[in-house]
């Protein structure tokens, strides 16, 4: 399986990208509603990366970020990780609370607001994904931390790390116009989940 991840053909990659597209599309809509601003998303990228090189996907392992982590439970287990740059988190809080000053640390209430944003995004991503694959998927209670991007992704990759040295990462970037709201949403299917996705969708996976 670990080896086979490297051998995804163009069609299989496009299937995974499409799943990302549908899920992230719903999440972007939810975020737009929440922020009352138009949120754009990029076409999701599907990376197969060795865990040694994961830094390249997250862009700067030492960068301070807000990370919201959820486990996906059900037939297609995996991890979801929302990574917000500090500017984006500050912007979000300003919109949500109306009175926030940009800072590098957040109050308990602000942390729980950001966690809820992660929850809403993951929830809408997952409901689209589960409709598409006709499976039952749900997300665990989210966990949140503000720290180095590398250290947070470390924790997210533990489930994959037990089985493989490579991870498949579906990465979608959200942006809000000229303002500095930039965030990434990562879906990292567990070992074996990619196989399940293809099986459910009737895609050949030898």
């Amino acid at each position: 399986m670990a080896g086979r991840l490297f051998e995804l053909d163009d069609f299989q990659l496009s299937v995974l990208r499409e799943i990302g597209n549908i899920g992230a599309g719903h999440a972007a809509t939810a975020l737009s509603v929440l922020m009352q601003k138009h949120i754009e998303m990029n076409v999701p990228r599907v990376h197969v990366v060795s865990i040694q090189e994961i830094d390249e996907v997250i862009g700067g392992a030492e960068q301070l970020v807000v990370g919201v982590y959820l486990r996906v439970e059900g037939e297609i287990p995996g991890s979801m990780f929302l990574m917000l740059k500090m500017e984006s988190a500050n912007m979000l809080l300003q919109i949500l609370t109306g009175s926030h000053q940009p800072v590098d640390s957040f109050s308990e209430l602000e942390m729980s607001a950001l966690m809820e944003v992660g929850n809403i995004l993951a929830g809408s991503y997952l409901s689209a994904f589960s409709d598409f694959t006709k499976t039952n998927l749900h997300a665990s209670v989210p966990a949140i931390a503000v720290d180095m991007a590398g250290a947070l992704i470390n924790a997210v990759l533990l489930h994959i790390g037990m089985y493989s040295d490579r991870a498949l990462v579906v990465d979608t970037e959200f942006r809000q116009g000229s303002e500095n709201v930039e965030s990434h949403f990562f879906f990292v299917p567990d070992h074996g989940s990619v196989e399940t996705i293809f099986k459910l969708l009737g895609v050949d996976f030898a």
């Binding site: 720290d147 470390n154 924790a155």
Partner: protein
């Protein structure tokens, strides 16, 4: 002086005056070993405590396979086992409000596993900055064995 990067689940060996660096240690543990008389240093970025029945596609990933391999690589560069000392950093719990599985306590378990292996190899631990909830970036100098630890909230310290 060169800075030699060590990725997640990876290891490297360096000679003085080079520096080994690993960025963003979360629950992973950075094991730094040095033979100060010949100034050969090694650094491993360990992800999980034990290989067990799982794949050992990459021995650098697990405490029980990484530490002996790192020692062996250092010996190939002229280091001597009975002169080696070790320093540790990492093993944090990054997401504190998460506790549904054993995996979450993997930080402390990594630290414990590394110490057990070092003990079996009779390599003394001369410095440690482990646990807590913060990510760490570490630099290990092959010139003097100093381990510099950077965190977001607590700044820089050297052990």
């Amino acid at each position: 002086m060169n800075i030699i990067k060590v990725g997640m689940a990876d290891m490297n060996v360096a000679c003085s005056p080079d520096v080994l660096r690993t960025v963003g240690l979360g629950s992973c543990v950075g094991v730094a070993i040095i033979d100060l008389s010949c100034k050969v240093a090694g650094l491993a970025h360990i992800m999980l405590p034990a290989a067990g029945r799982l794949d050992v596609e990459n021995p650098a990933k697990y405490a029980d396979t990484a530490v002996p391999l790192l020692v062996q690589k250092m010996q190939q560069q002229g280091a001597c086992l009975n002169r080696m000392i070790a320093k540790l950093a990492g093993g944090a719990q990054m997401f504190t409000n998460l506790n549904q599985s054993d995996l979450i306590r993997v930080g402390p378990r990594n630290v414990e596993a590394v110490k057990t292996v070092l003990d079996q190899l009779r390599i003394p631990v001369r410095g440690e900055d482990t646990g807590g909830n913060a990510g760490r970036t570490i630099d290990f100098s092959a010139a003097d064995g100093s381990l510099t630890i950077r965190t977001v909230a607590q700044g820089v310290k050297t052990i």
